[in-house]
């Protein structure tokens, strides 16, 4: 049985930072409507990978395909308009603007030149603020929001872009277990709306619940790929996180 054409494909990605190999021979596919998890110890190259997919970084080798087309040469804003959205590990709201303005911006620009109507964009923004539960704070300055609210804002902003592929970079970092649960639910609701996602996480139980498939990165290389249950029992994966098993 042949697989349908993937929404996203990375082929042989490589990236060096002045002699340090951050990524090498990274290849994988993400099918439409699925959640691909990505885990790996610190320094494995996860954020580098997100940077390359989003366009902030240029790969030294390899190809990036989105909806069948090569996008390596496209700058970040073009990729955003094609439908690739990302969140930042340390949230980056537009500090001096209200939460509503932040999300409105996402709605206005995320869809390319299509959205010109400010009022329509405002409506969409309010919907998404509601979706993430931030309606009460819509007129608050973004830099006055607390950390969990900022993460929600980041979600609302990127969702307002109507992305086809959403890159979530450690959105659960620093959250309490209860907060992690609500984020997991949120992500599931987003997936139910048909958004494909690449979720990078450290919180393993959450990623196990969410992912359809799981990738494991270590020292810039993919050491495992497959169903979460299988991957998490893989010896190499356990070794990467915990060190060698005592015989």
């Amino acid at each position: 049985m042949t697989e349908p054409a993937p929404l996203f494909e990375a082929i042989g990605l490589a990236k060096r930072f002045q002699g340090l190999v951050a990524l090498s021979a990274v290849s994988f596919r993400i099918q439409r409507g699925t959640i691909m998890g990505l885990i790996g110890p610190n320094g494995a190259g996860k954020s580098t990978l997100v940077g390359i997919i989003g366009g902030a970084l240029r790969a030294d080798g390899g190809e990036v395909h989105f909806e069948g087309a090569r996008i390596d040469r496209l700058p970040p804003y073009r990729r955003a308009r094609l439908g690739i959205g990302r969140t930042y590990q340390v949230t980056r709201p537009f500090p001096g603007l209200t939460a509503l303005d932040n999300v409105t911006l996402g709605a206005l620009f995320g869809d390319g030149a299509g959205m010109r109507d400010r009022h329509k964009a405002l409506e969409i923004a309010r919907e998404w603020l509601d979706f993430v539960g931030l309606s009460a704070h819509s007129d608050q300055r973004a830099d006055s929001l607390g950390s969990p609210d900022r993460k929600r804002l980041e979600f609302a902003k990127v969702l307002a872009m109507r992305p086809k592929l959403l890159l979530l970079d450690e959105v659960m970092a620093g959250l309490t277990p209860a907060e992690v649960d609500s984020v997991v639910t949120l992500i599931q609701r987003i997936r139910d709306r048909g958004v494909t996602m690449l979720v990078i996480e450290h919180v393993v139980p959450a990623i196990r619940r969410l992912s359809d498939r799981l990738l494991v990165l270590n020292h810039g290389q993919l050491i495992a790929e497959g169903e979460p249950r299988t991957v998490l029992r893989d010896e190499r994966v356990i070794e990467a996180y915990l060190g060698r098993r005592r015989a």
Binding site: R86, G96, R116
Partner: protein, 314 residues
């Protein structure tokens, strides 16, 4: 929503009527103040909304002046053609230069713009058609009222443009660039094109002001047209009035021009000193300008000033 425009409309009507209500001195002051307000408002587009602080907008002013002067004095064309020529050259330079220098961020952009005016001045001083160091003389037209209304019209046009920017998708994109340029790109803003557009718009209005001024004073030379004190003044006036607002730059320009005029008539060198002290105090106590002061004072009273001082100290 419409009532917000009643006060400005009245102000505009009053301003239009000045030539019939005031004397010669007032009209001349008016022309200068209106033109510098145009400069401030133009700067506001790139500096206030987009966050790219330029200290070299006077280069466009000078080009506008020279374009008009060359068209009128050397080629014997009409004033309107001169204005068009000046604006065209300025916008073309903005497009050409903007491409490389807008790639620079923050302080580097500001510093590079510092030298622009001086460089252009040196270049022009070597051109025969521009009259080299001696300058050019334009045909004389004694009609201060015309110049006044023309300047007022230009200011109105510039302000309407900024008002449109403030409510448009373009404007929101500029603001996003100001707040966080990389994050703006991540959501789909074409920062390069937007910044260039902002620069070209600023160049356009600034050049027109330069052209009107040249015709009004009938004489231009490199030093006078590429005047770096203009750069400082347009920045200060906008910052004082409120960057990124629609009326801030205009109000800042009028108030500071008036104060300067009053002082300069009294103790001229001290006028510069007074200004310097005002700027320093403003940076400490009201860094967001008058427009923010209005709202801040209403909610915090005098504590507004103290809060500002506390916010930015070590």
């Amino acid at each position: 929503m419409k009532w917000r425009w009643i006060v400005p409309a009245f102000a505009l009507a009053a301003l239009v009527a000045v030539p019939w209500l005031g004397d010669e001195v007032l009209i001349q002051f008016g022309i200068s103040a209106l033109l510098i307000a145009v400069l401030a408002q133009s700067w506001n587009i790139l500096g206030g909304f987009t966050g790219y602080v330029s200290f070299g907008n006077s280069v466009f002013y000078g080009l506008g002046a020279y374009g008009t002067a060359i068209a009128m004095a050397q080629w014997h064309q009409s004033f309107w053609l001169g204005l068009v020529l000046g604006a065209a050259v300025a916008v073309a330079l903005a497009a050409l230069l903007g491409w490389p220098i807008l790639r620079l961020r923050g302080p580097y952009f500001a510093i590079v713009t510092l030298g622009l005016s001086a460089a252009m001045s040196a270049l022009i001083a070597n051109l025969d058609i521009a009259g080299k160091n001696i300058g050019l003389i334009l045909p004389l037209t004694r009609n201060d009222t015309m110049f006044y209304e023309l300047s007022l019209g230009l200011l109105a046009a510039a302000t309407l443009t900024v008002a449109w920017i403030a409510r448009s998708r373009f404007g929101m994109g500029l603001i996003a660039i100001r707040e966080d340029e990389d994050a703006a790109a991540t959501i789909g803003v074409d920062a390069t094109r937007y910044k260039l557009a902002a620069l070209m718009l600023a160049a356009f209005f600034t050049a027109l002001a330069g052209g009107i001024h040249a015709y009004w004073i009938t004489f231009i030379d490199p030093a006078g047209s590429f005047d770096t004190t203009l750069d400082v003044r347009m920045v200060i006036m906008t910052m004082f009035g409120g960057p990124g607002t629609v009326f801030g730059p205009v109000i800042g320009a009028f108030i500071l021009s008036a104060i300067y005029e009053i002082l300069a008539n009294g103790i001229s060198t001290a006028a510069a000193l007074f200004f310097a002290v005002v700027i320093m105090l403003a940076v400490i106590f009201m860094p967001k300008g008058l427009m923010d002061l209005g709202g801040g004072f209403r909610s915090l009273g005098w504590r507004y000033f103290l809060a500002n001082m506390r916010r930015y100290r070590l």
